[in-house]
Every structure is written in C-alpha cells, then in structure tokens.
Symmetry: C2
Amino acid sequence: MESLEDLALGPCTASPYLRPLRLRYRQNGVSKTWDFMRTHDSVSILIFNTSRQCFVVVKQFRPAVYMSEMAQHCPQDFERNCLENWCPLECHLPASVGVTYELCAGIVDKPELSLEEIARQEVLEECGYEVPLASLQRITSYRSGVGVAGSKQTLFYVEVTDEMKTGKGGGQPEEGELIEVVEIPLRDWMSFAFDETFPKTMGVMFCFMWFQNNIAPKLPTKSE
Amino acid sequence: MESLEDLALGPCTASPYLRPLRLRYRQNGVSKTWDFMRTHDSVSILIFNTSRQCFVVVKQFRPAVYMSEMAQHCPQDFERNCLENWCPLECHLPASVGVTYELCAGIVDKPELSLEEIARQEVLEECGYEVPLASLQRITSYRSGVGVAGSKQTLFYVEVTDEMKTGKGGGQPEEGELIEVVEIPLRDWMSFAFDETFPKTMGVMFCFMWFQNNIAPKLPTKSE
C-alpha cells in the first residue's frame, strides 16, 4: 500500500503535539505525582451503507503503530540514544505493519460545533458522504488512554446510501492526511473483526458487535 | 470514594514515563515527521465469577481522566503557564469524576513471561483470584492510542469461582496502586455498560458484549 523510506528516529524536546504535564496531589492523605498529557476529546462514527450492505471504515498508516512493531522486531534501533541524536533506522519492516483499520473519526477542537456537527464533517471529509445531522445516533462514550490522556471518546452510528456520496473522502491532504476508505461487507464482519492480522482499533470491533446486537435484527431482509 | 487535596499542575520536562520521540520518514515520496511515545503493550482480562454470576472489574482514580474533566470545567487553570511554573489548582471537582471502571489489566514489561503468565499475575494481584494458566482464553488483540502510542493490547477471558479467591487484590500499594475490586452482576451488564455516568474503558464494554455473544448462550441455567 505505501512506500516508506529514509526512516530516522530522533529527540523530541518540545513537541507541539505531545506536551507532558505533571500533577501533584494528595489522595487519601498520601502525596503523589502523575505525569499525563492533555489531548483532545474525539468522535468516532460507525458508517453503514444500506445500498450495498457494508460498513465504511478507514485505513491509514500510523507511525506510532509502526514504531511499536519496530520496537518489538528491531529493538537495537531503540537502544541507541535517539533521545539525544538523530539515528537512521537500518532495520526495515514493511509499511503494512503500521496500517490500521479504524472508524471514521476526528478530534473535538472546535468549541462552537456540537459533537454531532464534528461527526458530520468527518464523515464527509474522510469518507465522502453527506449526512443529515439528525441521522447521527449517539451510541455511547468511553475513556481512552486512562493512564496517559484519559480523554473522552463519543461513538455515533449513521446509515448512508450510495446517493449520499458527494465526494471521494480521503481526509485533508493539505494536512498530510492520507486516508483510504474501505468497505467491509456486512456478511464478513466477524471474520474481519476477529482476524488479528488486520491491525485495528477497539472502536471498530466494539461497533461491529454493537451493530449486530442492536441494528442487524431490525434490518429489512434483502433479496440478493 | 477518595479524598483529594492540594492539587498543583506543573512542568514535566524529563518524565521517566512519557518520553516523546520524533520519527522522520518519506511516505510515497513525501517527507513527514510524526511525534509519538513508546509505551508498553498490555494485557486485559475479563473475569467472570461463576459462583456468584458476576463480572469482576476494577475501579481506580485516574489522574489523566480527572485532568481531562478539569480541562473541560476549569479551563482557566490550564491557561496559566503551567509548562513553566507550578500552579496550585483552585477550582476543584470531586475525585469521583476521575474514577474509572476497567478490566483487570497490566503492562507487558517482563520479556521472560508469556502474555498468559502476566495475565495470571494481574488477576491475582489486582483481584485476588488464583487461576490456572490454561484457563486463560485469548479473545483478541487490538491497537490502542493509534495516534500517539499504538501499542498492542491483548484481551483474555477467565472464569473464576469463590474457591479460587486467595487474596484481597487491590494492586501493589508499594507501587502506589489503590485499586478497588468491583463486582457487576451478570443481569446488570447492559445497564452498566451503556450508563455514561460510570466512566469506563472501551475494554469493559467490548468484553461484556463479547461475553453475551460467546459465553452467555453456553452458561448452565442457574436456579436462584
């Protein structure tokens, strides 16, 4: 899927994205500290295309997932002191080990928009479907990265038809997004969800299962 | 549940826990950088007590979740320049907003142990049940924090009985762990899972639903 070249690992002293903070507190009389990071809350959307009875998810290269695999397979690259100097990465894994399947999603960074409005924008930008705001159904919310970030993720469900497809999706290339839209036929959901050779987020697995329990029983039976 | 006092927020320039790294790479001909963090892989275990037909989960105060709520409700505390100086937090939310329900879990930091062995240790340390290694059933794995960490989380299922309870659980107080073991009756699973006033991880919700689809149909019916 991807060509990946010239990898190098280096220090990151003042990341605009990752800024650790430290909390000091006393819990039940005991003084403690905890290092954490502020991250944005987010929305994720399970999209089901009723015209072709398939889920619409996205697939993209995730550097953090790739490097987590590298740390397993090429630990020597992490033993050199990359916290101080740039080190080219000699050992190479295929880019595919860092490609994950995920729900269409976006961060909550526009205080003037509701979660539903942000979700609607992401469905259009990432997957190319124009959906009415009222068609977004809230599933639930949960906490992610409870050790480090603890941000709130809200899940939505939306049904789309081929007629609602007004764009190609793929994210915002000007922001470096390189997102591939992928359709998973309804009948394949379980083999996909539990096949560990497709790296994926918990969100995808949870929502597929939620769909089976809550939506599938109400679907009109389709003659094929 | 908790008394929480003397909160202060401050800079965290060289955290031993959170160490951002930067990856430089060329993807399909385009040069990019991505900031990420190395974190440990982890295991989580869905525990079902067959003696009393309940799930056994853990509950603990999570500073990162608490601070994510603080950022929402007391943004002024984050606007001061806490990246450079320590700032006492004047606005106060109850500790309960940072208390989350989670699966029994642990990080994979002992290369000499299998995932099952680490899972077995966590079930004992956190929840007090001594389980045979062979009784741990792998559910699946997924990627968490795909933007920042991308580590691999593996889920297990294990059944316990009251006779297997050999300790109190609660984690390792000497490492500052303060974990409360909580039992969720099987019949209450759905109201618990979808009640957003109980902050929880996706792992809990996914596994409860997995249990309903995969284990519940095979349970012997119990006369009460």
